[in-house]
Symmetry: C2
Subunit: 194 residues, 2 copies
């Protein structure tokens, strides 16, 4: 029904996460209505992004240069490492405005089925940091999913004899209602009551 090029455009947008056909169509129509300049700006942002986006040499966070803002900040506590799956998670922690330690980005989780093994994750460099820097605590902040849990258990086993290893608490999310909590979450909240 649509012109070939328009179909291509719709398919392109469907590659974005959570974008189905309807949304992709909506995006495609919007882009079609853009003027030359708007389209150029959009294309430029995508085609030139890699040039200015680096990974921090220490923690793996996104950065403008060799080190990210956090690792190069002397005011932060460099003896405490929060281990996360992705740079995205750092943003969530930072918006909390409470944690003043540093981070380590694993770049994924262990997933046997997909063939993602520990050596494909950013674990070796975490080991080096723990061995060479004076680390007091690592906080395992992987997602509470099967893969996240597997990864956290793996890291816990690996490091618990070298450094204090903690995990985020599980429980009922603030502002939610008890009857909406799934039973696993409720179980965790019950087990960890104090």
């Amino acid at each position: 029904m649509y012109p070939k090029r328009f179909e291509d455009l719709i398919h392109a947008f469907q590659k974005l996460p959570g974008v189905g056909e309807k949304t992709a169509q909506r995006y495609a129509y919007t882009v079609l209505d853009w003027n030359e300049e708007e389209r150029e700006t959009f294309i430029h942002a995508i085609s030139h992004m890699k040039e200015g986006i680096h990974r921090c040499k220490i923690c793996g966070n996104l950065s403008d240069g060799e080190l990210c803002d956090i690792c190069s900040d002397e005011n932060r506590n460099h003896h405490m490492i929060c281990v996360v799956q992705s740079p995205k998670d750092i943003q969530s922690f930072e918006s909390m405005q409470e944690y003043d330690g540093v981070y380590h980005v694993l770049n994924g989780t262990i997933n046997i089925q997909k063939g993602i093994l520990p050596d494909q994750l950013n674990i070796e460099s975490l080991k080096n940091r723990i061995e060479s820097e004076n680390i007091e605590e690592i906080i395992l902040a992987t997602d509470p999913t099967v893969d996240g849990e597997t990864t956290a258990l793996y890291l816990e086993k690996m490091f618990k004899n070298h450094v204090k290893v903690t995990r985020l608490a599980y429980g009922i999310p603030m502002g939610s209602h008890l009857d909406y909590a799934d039973s696993l979450t409720l179980l965790k909240a019950f087990e960890n009551r104090k």
Copy 2:
């Protein structure tokens, strides 16, 4: 917090309709994880789209060539024109698989506040079609919004002495519940009861 280029990417995605900061971030992270080829395909779809997407000379629908599939289809009823705001709406009608007439795309609606006057819409060509082709009926299928209604009233006034002009029926949507219908829709459904 983010590298400059990454911020640019997030801002670029926020230009898409209904995309806020969170979604834009999610898209940006996805694109960052794409390999060279995936990124090239995406950029190519956007940068080359105009080349292969034309507007039908007759109705203004999106088309591969001079005429769209519908206008060049001899099996369709060319004496009946459904007037819509955008090519998008044609898709909705076509998926109904009931209408066999042709279309006319206005490319928007009259909106005095935004300075969109009738002469900026695809109305002149509609007038030409009504005058030169043997049109029996035009169906005004603009959105049931203030702008859509204004435009439909304008067209109705303009053409009602030359051709049979009809409007889509308003009422309760199928499969919905009465208590969810807004009072204006309910009023329309009540007025047009039969």
